[in-house]
């Protein structure tokens, strides 16, 4: 599930949908990104997220499909906001629901790492010195790259050893 929107979202309600009526889900891992009030040594008054509307949804769909290719997932979710946001505001929600917790954690981590480098969004920070476009961080590039070599650790052919139980 993918959404690109200016409005805020209700995290509890969104996560509920990932397992609603699906009793095969043992775990839901999620990550919410928020606007901080500092960046390095600068105070942030607000942040404006610009995006490339014609490309954003296809890019998110591709990232989501890639996660489903890599892990045994029941459902995934990406919600990304655009427009002007203030410190404490939610920017993004990614989540993965799976029978097994390792798959949920890895897929969720993958989703946010790939969003950082593959989803066409750009951030303009408002500081006391004026607006400033955020530079891409090399650490985000490295975080995304590790998924190019890492193999999923919880593919169906490589399930946890020992008897599975109903709670993951």
């Amino acid at each position: 599930m993918i959404r690109v929107q200016a409005e805020d979202f209700d995290v509890g309600q969104e996560l509920e949908k990932l397992s609603d009526g699906n009793h095969g889900v043992g775990g839901v891992c999620s990550f919410v990104g928020l606007v901080r009030d500092i960046a390095g040594d600068k105070t942030i008054e607000a942040m404006t997220l610009e995006h490339y509307p014609q490309m954003t949804e296809p890019a998110l769909a591709k990232i989501e499909a890639e996660a489903h290719d890599r892990w045994p997932l029941e459902e995934t979710l990406i919600i990304h906001r655009y427009g002007r946001l203030e410190p404490g505001d939610r920017i993004v929600l990614v989540a993965a629901a799976s029978a097994h917790r390792e798959a949920a954690f890895e897929a969720c981590h993958f989703l946010i790492d790939w969003l950082k480098t593959q989803a066409p969004f750009w951030k303009l920070e408002e500081t006391p010195d004026g607006g400033q476009w955020v530079d891409a961080r090399s650490s985000d590039g490295r975080a995304a790259e590790r998924w190019l070599t890492d193999k999923p650790q919880d593919k169906p052919q490589d399930k946890p050893k020992g008897k599975p139980n109903a709670a993951e």
């Binding site: 950082k116 066409p120 955020v134």
Partner: protein
């Protein structure tokens, strides 16, 4: 072809979107960028540091050797800072 600019490339170019008809010798992204720069002013400035420019042709991330043709939608932007 339709050109889109985002973030500081948009600010430097002074425009968010335009339709252009480069000469027939322009067949790749790299050649398009060269032609863009030759137009001077904000365009030259936007592309001054090519290492900081990313490109998508018809909504797909591509490298600079990717072909371009009439009818394409070509977007220029800095490295992504989503998420």
């Amino acid at each position: 072809m339709k050109i889109l600019y985002f973030a500081w490339l948009r600010e430097k170019a002074g425009i968010g979107e335009e339709d252009v008809s480069p000469p027939e010798t322009v067949t790749t992204v790299a050649e398009l960028v060269e032609w863009m720069k030759s137009r001077g002013g904000g365009f030259a400035e936007a592309f001054a540091n090519e290492g900081m420019v990313r490109v998508a042709v018809n909504q797909e991330h591509v490298q600079t050797d990717h072909p371009v043709a009439a009818g394409d939608e070509i977007a220029f932007f800095p490295p992504i800072t989503g998420g």
